[in-house]
C-alpha cells in the first residue's frame, strides 16, 4: 500500500515540477518586454558596451599629443601572440645624455586575442583597452596599426 502511495505521489510531484518549468517559459512567451536581444545595426547610435568589454589596444594620449610610453618593451615581451613590436630610436638630450625614445609602437590587431596582458604589465600605464569592435577590413595589412600618434612625444615626468 505504501509503495502505491509513493508511486502516485511521485507522479504528481513529477507533474507539478514540469508545470513549474512550463510556467517560467510560458511567462517569457507572453511577456515580450523580457526580450534581451539588441538589434545591432539599428541601435548603433545608442549602443553602450559593457565597461569590461575589450575591443582593441590603444595608447593614451593627452591633449598636447603626449603619451606615456617609454619604449621599455615590457608589453612586447609579455604579449603571448607577438602582436606588439616596439621600434625605438636613440636621441641625445640637451644635457648631452643618450636616451631611448619611442619611434613606433606597432600593434597587429589581427593576431591579438585581447588578453589584456600588455595593459596589465605596462609600468607607466601607457596602454588601455578601447571598446571599438567594428574592425572588419578588406585587406589584412590594414590590421597592423601604429599606436603612437604622428608627432607625439613622451609626457613630462614619466621616466625610468
Amino acid at each position: 500500500m505504501k509503495s502505491i502511495i509513493n508511486y502516485l505521489s511521485e507522479i504528481f510531484r513529477g507533474i507539478s515540477a514540469l508545470i513549474k518549468g512550463m510556467m517560467v517559459t510560458g511567462y517569457y512567451f507572453v511577456h515580450p518586454r523580457e526580450i534581451v536581444t539588441q538589434q545591432y545595426p539599428e541601435n548603433r547610435k545608442k549602443l553602450v558596451m559593457f565597461e569590461r568589454f575589450k575591443g582593441e589596444v590603444v595608447m593614451i594620449h593627452n591633449e598636447n599629443n603626449e603619451h606615456r610610453c617609454t619604449a621599455c618593451g615590457i608589453c612586447e615581451m609579455n604579449c603571448p601572440n607577438g602582436s606588439i613590436e616596439i621600434i625605438s630610436r636613440m636621441v641625445t638630450t640637451e644635457d648631452g645624455k643618450k636616451k631611448r625614445e619611442l619611434a613606433r609602437h606597432i600593434y597587429h590587431l589581427g593576431m591579438c586575442t585581447f588578453c589584456n596582458l600588455c595593459v596589465k604589465s605596462c609600468p607607466s600605464n601607457a596602454l588601455k583597452m578601447d571598446q571599438a569592435f567594428e574592425h572588419a577590413v578588406f585587406n589584412r595589412t590594414k590590421l597592423t596599426k601604429v599606436l603612437n600618434r604622428p608627432g607625439s612625444a613622451l609626457m613630462k615626468g614619466v621616466d625610468k
Partner: protein, 362 residues
C-alpha cells in the same frame, strides 16, 4: 445540426461525377488521385515551412530572444529562403555508404508521413480516404517512418548515425504502445475506429469533456507518448546534438536533409491533428449538448478553422514541452514508458470501459 454552408461533400461529389461523366472510371480515379496528391503536396510544403517558422519564433520568445526577423516582415519569409538554400546545396556522396539504402531512406520517412495525412479529416467531406479502421491505419502508417530512420542510420557508415537510429528504434517500439492504448481508450468511448464517425460522435461535446477523467488522462498520455514518437525534444535522443552530432541524419545534406527535417515537422503536425480529431473534436465546432442557440453561433466558424486552431494548440503544447524540458537519458526514457505510462494507460482503459459500461459519461 446545420453544417450545410461549410459542407464539402457535395463539392467533392460534383467533381467526381463530372469526371466520371466525361471519361472512363479508370482515368477519372487517376485524375482524382493526382488532384488529391497535388493538393496534399502543396498543403504539406506550406505547413512544413511555417511550422519551422513557428517553432523558431516560439522558441525565441521562450528564451527571451526575437527569432528570425530579417527576411520579410517579422522574418516571415525566412523559411522560404532556407528552403531555396537547401535546394541549391550539394548532395555529398558518402564513401563506403550503402548507396541504395542511403538514397531511399529520406523517401521512406517522407512517404510514411504522406500516407498518414491521407486519413485525416480536415473538414466535413474534405477527407482523402475515410477508412472504417482509420485510427488503426494512422497508427500503423505513422510508425513506418522509423524504418526510414533505421535505414538512414545503418547505411550512413557512421557510428553516431547508427547509435541515433538504434535509440530511435527503441523509443518508437516502446512509445507506440502508449500511443495505441491511449487512442483505444477513446475508441471505447466512441465505439468506432472511423475518423468521420469519431468526429460526428463529438457533435454534442468533445470526447475530452464527454469522457472526463479517463479521457483527460488519455489525452495527457497521448501528448507525452506522441512527442516521444515524433523524436522531438525532450525525447530527441535520436539526434541529440551534444552527443551524436545530429544522429541518424548526420551524413545527409541538401534536399535529402530537408526531407528528414520536413518529415519531422509533418509528423508533429499529423500527431497533433490526430490528438485534435480524437480528443478535441477535429473540425467539429465547440458544442454543448442542449444549448441550441450557442451551438448555432459556433457553427458559423468554418470547420477548417476549428480544425487548424485545435491542431495549432496541440502543436504549441508540444513546442512548449520541447523548449522547457531537458533531454531525457535513454534509461529515464524507458523507465517513463514501462514503469509509468504503460501501467497508467492499462488502468485508464479499464476505468474508461467501466465508465462506458455504467453510462457515467456525458
Amino acid at each position: 445540426m446545420s453544417f450545410n454552408i461549410y459542407d464539402f461533400t457535395s463539392f467533392t461529389k460534383s467533381i467526381d461525377e463530372g469526371l466520371m461523366a466525361v471519361m472512363s472510371p479508370f482515368w477519372a480515379v487517376t485524375i482524382e488521385m493526382i488532384l488529391i496528391g497535388v493538393a496534399i503536396l502543396a498543403f504539406y510544403a506550406v505547413v512544413g515551412l511555417y511550422l519551422v517558422y513557428a517553432e523558431r519564433k516560439i522558441c525565441a520568445f521562450m528564451q527571451c530572444r526575437i527569432g528570425p526577423n530579417r527576411v520579410g516582415p517579422y522574418g516571415f519569409f525566412q523559411t522560404i529562403a532556407d528552403l531555396i538554400k537547401l535546394l541549391l546545396k550539394e548532395l555529398i556522396p558518402i564513401k563506403n555508404a550503402d548507396k541504395l539504402l542511403f538514397n531511399i531512406a529520406p523517401f521512406i520517412v517522407i512517404i510514411a508521413s504522406f500516407m498518414a495525412i491521407a486519413a485525416i479529416p480536415f473538414a466535413k467531406g474534405l477527407h482523402a480516404m475515410d477508412f472504417n479502421i482509420g485510427v488503426f491505419y494512422v497508427m500503423a502508417v505513422s510508425s513506418l517512418g522509423v524504418i526510414g530512420v533505421l535505414i538512414a542510420g545503418w547505411s550512413s557508415n557512421n557510428k553516431y548515425s547508427l547509435i541515433g537510429a538504434m535509440r530511435s528504434g527503441a523509443q518508437i517500439v516502446s512509445y507506440e504502445l502508449s500511443v495505441g492504448l491511449s487512442l483505444i481508450t477513446v475508441v471505447i468511448l466512441a465505439g468506432t475506429l472511423q475518423f468521420s464517425a469519431i468526429v460526428e460522435g463529438q457533435a454534442t461535446g468533445w470526447f475530452i469533456f464527454k469522457g472526463h477523467i479517463p479521457a483527460v488522462i488519455a489525452f495527457l498520455v497521448f501528448l507525452v507518448a506522441s512527442t516521444a514518437e515524433t523524436n522531438r525534444g525532450p525525447f530527441d535522443l535520436a539526434e541529440a546534438e551534444s552527443e551524436l552530432t545530429a544522429g541518424f541524419h548526420t551524413e545527409y545534406s541538401g534536399i535529402k536533409f530537408a526531407f528528414f527535417f520536413l518529415a519531422e515537422y509533418m509528423n508533429m503536425f499529423i500527431v497533433a491533428s490526430i490528438a485534435a480529431t480524437v480528443f478535441l473534436g477535429g473540425w467539429m465546432p465547440f458544442h454543448i449538448g442542449g444549448w441550441e442557440a450557442f451551438n448555432h453561433i459556433m457553427d458559423f466558424i468554418p470547420p477548417f478553422i476549428w480544425y487548424i486552431g485545435k491542431t495549432a494548440f496541440v502543436i504549441f503544447l508540444m513546442m512548449w514541452f520541447k523548449w522547457t524540458f531537458p533531454r531525457l537519458r535513454i534509461d529515464q526514457l524507458l523507465t517513463l514508458e514501462w514503469k509509468y505510462l504503460l501501467p497508467i494507460n492499462l488502468f485508464n482503459i479499464i476505468l474508461m470501459a467501466f465508465i462506458v459500461l455504467m453510462g457515467w459519461h456525458f
